[in-house]
Amino acid sequence: MAVNKIVGSFNEAVADVFGGAVLLIGGFGGPGECPSYLIAAVARKGVNNLTIVGNSGGWGPDLIEMLRARMASVLRFPPDWYDPGLLVDRGQVSKGILSFPAAPGHIHTPFEKAVMAGKAELELIGQGSLAERMRAAKGGIAAFYTPVGVGTVVAEGKEVREFEGRSYLLERALKGDFSLVRAHKADRYGNLVYRGSSRTMNATMAGASSVTIAEVDEVVEPGALDPECVVTPGIYVQRVVVRPRDPRPWDEPT
C-alpha cells in the first residue's frame, strides 16, 4: 500500500495525546507560525497536566485580541491564531520549558499568571540550548556541552566542565511525546516545506518527539516538492492534517 500520512481531522490527529504528555509546540511568537488548529484540538480534548516546550508559552486569546488592535497599523493578524496560551488559560498546562515565558512590558502572559498563582512550573532555557536539546533528542544524542548559561540561572543543578580552558554546561536531550508543528506544504510521505520565518522552531521540533503531527496549508502530490528544498524529511513526520479553508473558531470540531 502506498505510504499515506494524511489524516482526515484535527480531532483524529491528536486522538492519542494523553494527560501528562510533553508537547513540543512550534512557532516563535508571530501570528503565522503556530499550529493553531492542533492546539485548538488539544484544548477541546481537555487533557491536563501537560508540559509545553517552545519559545513562548503563548499570549492566549485575550492578549491576542489586544495585540491585534495594537498592531493593526503594522501587521494584520489572521483571525484563527490560537497559540499555547489557550492551553495555559484553560488550566491544561502544569509545566513549561520555555525561552520567552514573560511578555515584554507590563502585561502578563497566561503562563506568567499561572506561575505567579503557583499553578505551573517554569524551566527557563535560552533559545539556543532549547533548540539544540530538541535536536539532540531527534538524533539520539544524550547530552552536549555548551558554554551558554554558565554562571547564570540556567546553570542551576547542571554539571559544569572545562574544555581547553573554557567552562561548559552539560545540557540534556529534550524529547517530546508529541511535536505539534505548522508547515506550508506536505506530501503523503510527510515531507514538509515551510513559509519564510515560520520555519524556525517548527522544523527544529519535527522529529524530536515520539510522534510528530504537522498542520499544513496544503497537501501536494509526491514530486511537487523539490527534493533539494524539502526542509523536513517525511521520516520525521507521523501525521499530516490540512488546515480548514475558512477560519474556524477554536472550539468548533475540526
Partner: protein
C-alpha cells in the same frame, strides 16, 4: 547644567557606527532594532535574526506590505532582500553559538564594571525571558550594550555589581548610552565619548564604577 541626553534614534545611530563592512549583525529588540536604519551607506551589513532569517531588508511599516511569515525576532515584519536566507531555529543558533555573529547590539538593565550584563528580567516581574539574548551575549564576537545611562528615577545602570539576575558574565565590549560611549577593558571602564555639552565629571556622577578618561576622549560624533 549638563547637555541634553541623546534620543533613541541618535543612540542607535552611534551604535551603528561600530558596524564594519560585511559584518554579521544581530540586533536585540527595542532600541537596538533602530540601528538597522543607520548602517552607513558605504557599508553592507548582513542582519541575522534569532528566528532564522539572514540578510533581510528594512522593517516594513505598512501592513499592506507586511508578510506574517517574514518577521524578525521582535515580531516586526521585514522586507525580503536579494541574498536573503531562511534557516531553522537550530541552525540559527549554530550560527550564533559558533561565533559566526560579528556584533550584537543588546538592550540592558545593568552593565557591571567587568562587562557583566543583566537584561532578561523586568523590575517587579517574577518571570524573566531569556529569548536568544543569552546566546548572543555569550557567543557573539562583540557585544554592544545600548541603553539609557540611568534608570527612570536617576540611578546608575552602569554599576559595580549587578543587582538584577545576570544574563552573561564579562560579555559587554562597548556600552553606548544616551550620554556616553564606554569601552569595557581589562584596565576598567574607559570613557571614550560624551554627548555634546557633558563633562567627564558629570558622566562619572551618573556612573557607579570609576571611569578612566580615554586619552582620546571626545564628543560623540553625530552623523
Amino acid at each position: 547644567m549638563p547637555g541634553e541626553r541623546l534620543d533613541e534614534q541618535t543612540m542607535a545611530l552611534r551604535a551603528a557606527k561600530e558596524f564594519q563592512d560585511g559584518m554579521v549583525v544581530n540586533l536585540g529588540v527595542g532600541i537596538p532594532t533602530l540601528c538597522g536604519n543607520f548602517v552607513p551607506p558605504d557599508k553592507e551589513v548582513i542582519f541575522h535574526s534569532e528566528n532564522g532569517i539572514i540578510g533581510f531588508g528594512p522593517i516594513v511599516t505598512d501592513p499592506e506590505e507586511a508578510d506574517e511569515n517574514l518577521i524578525n525576532a521582535g515580531v516586526q515584519p521585514v522586507q525580503p532582500k536579494p541574498g536573503m536566507v531562511i534557516v531553522d531555529h537550530a541552525e540559527s543558533f549554530i550560527i550564533i553559538r559558533g561565533g559566526h555573529v560579528d556584533v550584537t547590539v543588546l538592550g540592558a538593565l545593568e552593565v557591571s564594571r567587568r562587562g557583566d550584563l543583566a537584561n532578561y528580567t523586568l523590575p517587579g516581574k517574577e518571570v524573566g525571558s531569556l529569548g536568544g539574548g543569552q546566546d548572543l551575549a555569550f557567543c557573539a564576537k562583540r557585544t554592544i550594550a545600548l541603553m539609557t545611562h540611568t534608570t527612570r528615577d536617576g540611578r546608575p545602570k552602569i554599576v559595580n555589581e549587578l543587582s538584577s539576575p545576570i544574563t552573561a558574565p564579562a560579555c559587554v565590549d562597548l556600552v553606548v548610552t544616551n550620554i556616553a560611549v564606554i569601552e569595557v577593558t581589562r584596565r576598567g571602564l574607559v570613557l571614550a565619548e560624551m554627548a555634546p555639552g557633558w563633562t567627564f565629571e558629570e558622566v562619572q556622577g551618573l556612573t557607579e564604577p570609576e571611569l578612566i578618561p580615554s586619552a582620546d576622549l571626545k564628543e560623540i560624533e553625530l552623523l
